[in-house]
């Protein structure tokens, strides 16, 4: 059956292949015992497949142009975001229940401008250089924040002291092998505690940019893609770190962008070149967070009431299902 093409291959890979060698449909590369020849035939088969595909594409394009207006609309490519499994807790912007919930939850005083955020940043025991520098940079990015080193103090004892000194949020950066890898964010007067895994932390000097340091102005906050109910609460929590009234003179913006359950944090300085063009320049550290658990009260690992925990076996299996 495959007399023609096999015959031409008998002279090895040296002679150039004829233009229109057609492989008979019953031809299979795996039947050839000789490895070299098999490889050669496979390459030729691949080339021919590619040509056919290109020809088919051209034909389709011609048909499409020929039809003109009557052509069927172009098919939208499937992306993970398109195919995302619909989460039933997705918040509808007009949902009254959610609005009511948010008006009465722990962040209501912040959003009603009754409290001014005051943040305490600390680390786990014995922080190493990178973590220390990261904490310092973080404290310049978030206005009204203070860094304190923890010298073996228990978190449970720190918390009442913080509340007494009017702190609204506590951030604990956990460190492992000299790099920060976890973040515990606790809203202080009895607020929820979120535990994140932190990854790809870049300090200011590692970012390729030519900007200066962030100034003292309060930055704007952008929260992107927090769609579900859980995402909403996390988003509010992150937003409550920054003062409610941004100072537009400073032209700084802090972004928390959620994509497939990863929250990317960036800090930029922007300038409007025209009403349709804006230039942004990255300053400040950047990191990615992934939510591990959300607890109702303040940090309490043993007796806390968990609102949400990431369960690996159930939640990681489906690639199109996201929770934030």
């Amino acid at each position: 059956a495959g007399g023609g093409p096999v015959g031409s291959a008998a002279g090895d890979g040296g002679p150039p292949a004829p233009e229109r060698v057609l492989f008979p449909p019953t031809f299979s590369v795996s039947e050839i015992k000789n490895k070299q020849r098999r490889h050669f035939m496979f390459l030729r088969w691949k080339q021919q497949q590619r040509k056919e595909k290109l020809a088919a594409k051209k034909k389709r394009r011609k048909e499409r142009e020929a039809l003109g207006d009557k052509a069927p609309p172009k098919a939208i490519p499937k992306t993970i975001e398109n195919q995302r499994v619909y989460d039933e807790t997705t918040v509808d912007p007009n949902d009254e229940e959610v609005a009511f919930d948010e008006a009465t939850d722990e962040f209501a005083p912040y959003f009603n401008r009754q409290t001014v955020p005051k943040i305490l940043i600390t680390t786990s025991d014995r922080p190493r250089g990178r973590t220390v520098r990261f904490c310092e940079q973080l404290s310049t990015v978030i206005p009204n924040s203070h860094v304190f080193y923890r010298r073996g103090l228990a978190l449970k004892r720190i918390i009442p002291q913080c509340i007494a000194r009017d702190f609204t949020d506590l951030m604990v950066i956990n460190e492992d092998r000299k790099i920060p890898n976890g973040l515990v964010l606790s809203h202080l007067p009895d607020g929820p505690t979120a535990h994140f895994r932190m990854s790809s932390v870049r300090l200011r000097k590692e970012i390729k940019r030519k900007g200066k340091e962030p100034t003292e102005h309060a930055p704007e906050v952008i929260l992107n893609n927090f769609t579900t109910r859980l995402g909403h609460s996390v988003g509010r929590m992150l937003a409550s770190l920054f003062p409610h009234d941004p100072q537009f003179i400073g032209r700084q913006v802090a972004t928390f962008h959620n994509q497939r359950d990863y929250i990317f944090f960036r800090f930029h300085r922007y300038i409007f070149k025209s009403e349709k063009k804006v230039g942004i320049q990255e300053l400040g550290p950047r990191f990615t967070l992934k939510l591990r658990s959300l607890q109702k009260g303040t940090f309490d690992s043993k007796f806390g009431e968990y609102e949400w925990i990431h369960k690996r076996r159930e939640m990681d299996t489906n690639r199109r299902k996201f929770h934030l």
């Binding site: 992107n224 972004t255 990863y262 300038i271 409007f272 070149k273 025209s274 804006v278 990615t288």
Partner: protein, 290 residues
């Protein structure tokens, strides 16, 4: 007899409890008093022997005598020591009365060491313990890969720029940025044939805004220095003074980019010369155009 045992096991032939290192020999036997492999500390080679061992936080004194050498099950006699340190020392003394000095001394030393480490354990358990969570390689790799893909899918810069432009449109910035509104621009573009007065009036308005913008731009000196626009700004101001009379639209185009970095694309359709020059030269150019 113990001497024979030592001559065979301890000194010459193989003893399974013996561990040799470069400088020392250790004895792995659990009843050993000092932990070293010696003639006097080998529990196999001494028919009268005693040790102190602890179990679940309580210390016991183990004793072995010659009389029970034939009964391995009953060989080691166990005595619970009191929790009180001094009392326990007395108990040891009491039980090991008439025993060789070496064994008594070493027993008390061992007991002291044990109580010390028990105290330390109790203190440490009260402090916060570091919980070691093992990393799972496969999962770490998976997470890393997913994060990279999510980063690519996120297109952060575009998203941020879009959001900022949205906010500009919805007027959250108020009066700081005086860009002409879209509708205004489009309406002007549609009216191609304009009368001079109308266009002049508009230009004057734009001039005013232009002044504002120019002031605004120059005030924010420090940040703009980072942008390339600043260079064009400086160079174009020099050019402008020289080339007063040339109606170079192309030059004005390039100037416009530097001179008015905050203007929209609509600007380019108008002759620039009037706009760029300041108050003094305006009437001059107007007469020329007329």
């Amino acid at each position: 007899s113990p001497q024979v045992v030592w001559d065979t096991l301890g000194n010459r032939q193989f003893c399974s409890y013996k561990i040799t290192t470069k400088t020392q020999n250790f004895c792995r036997n659990e009843y050993n008093l000092t932990g070293l492999c010696n003639r006097s500390s080998c529990p196999l080679a001494n028919s009268q022997y005693a040790t102190v061992r602890e179990e679940k936080g309580r210390c016991y004194l183990y004793m072995k005598t010659i009389e029970r050498a034939a009964f391995p099950r009953r060989l080691w006699e166990r005595v619970l020591l009191s929790k009180n340190y001094e009392k326990a020392l007395e108990e040891i003394d009491e039980n090991l009365i008439y025993w060789p000095r070496f064994i008594r001394h070493k027993c008390k030393q061992r007991f002291t060491k044990i109580t010390q480490y028990l105290i330390r354990i109790r203190k440490l358990t009260l402090k916060r313990q570091r919980k070691l969570v093992p990393l799972r390689r496969k999962i770490e790799r998976r997470e890393k890969r997913r994060e990279e893909k999510a980063l690519i899918a996120a297109q952060l810069d575009n998203a941020i720029e879009k959001e900022l432009l949205e906010r500009l449109k919805q007027d959250t910035y108020g009066d700081i940025y005086n860009f002409p509104i879209h509708a205004f621009d489009k309406a002007l573009q549609q009216q191609d044939a304009e009368s001079e007065s109308e266009s002049d009036a508009e230009k004057e308005e734009e001039d005013d805004e232009d002044m504002d913008k120019r002031e605004f731009v120059e005030a924010d000196d420090s940040d703009l220095s980072d942008f390339e626009d600043m260079d064009k700004l400086e160079t174009s101001s020099e050019e402008e003074q020289e080339e007063e009379e040339e109606v170079e639209k192309k030059a004005s185009h390039s100037k416009s980019k530097g001179k008015t970095p905050l203007k929209g694309p609509a600007r380019r359709k108008r002759p620039y010369i009037e706009i760029e020059y300041e108050e003094e030269t305006e009437p001059a150019t107007k007469t020329k155009a007329a």
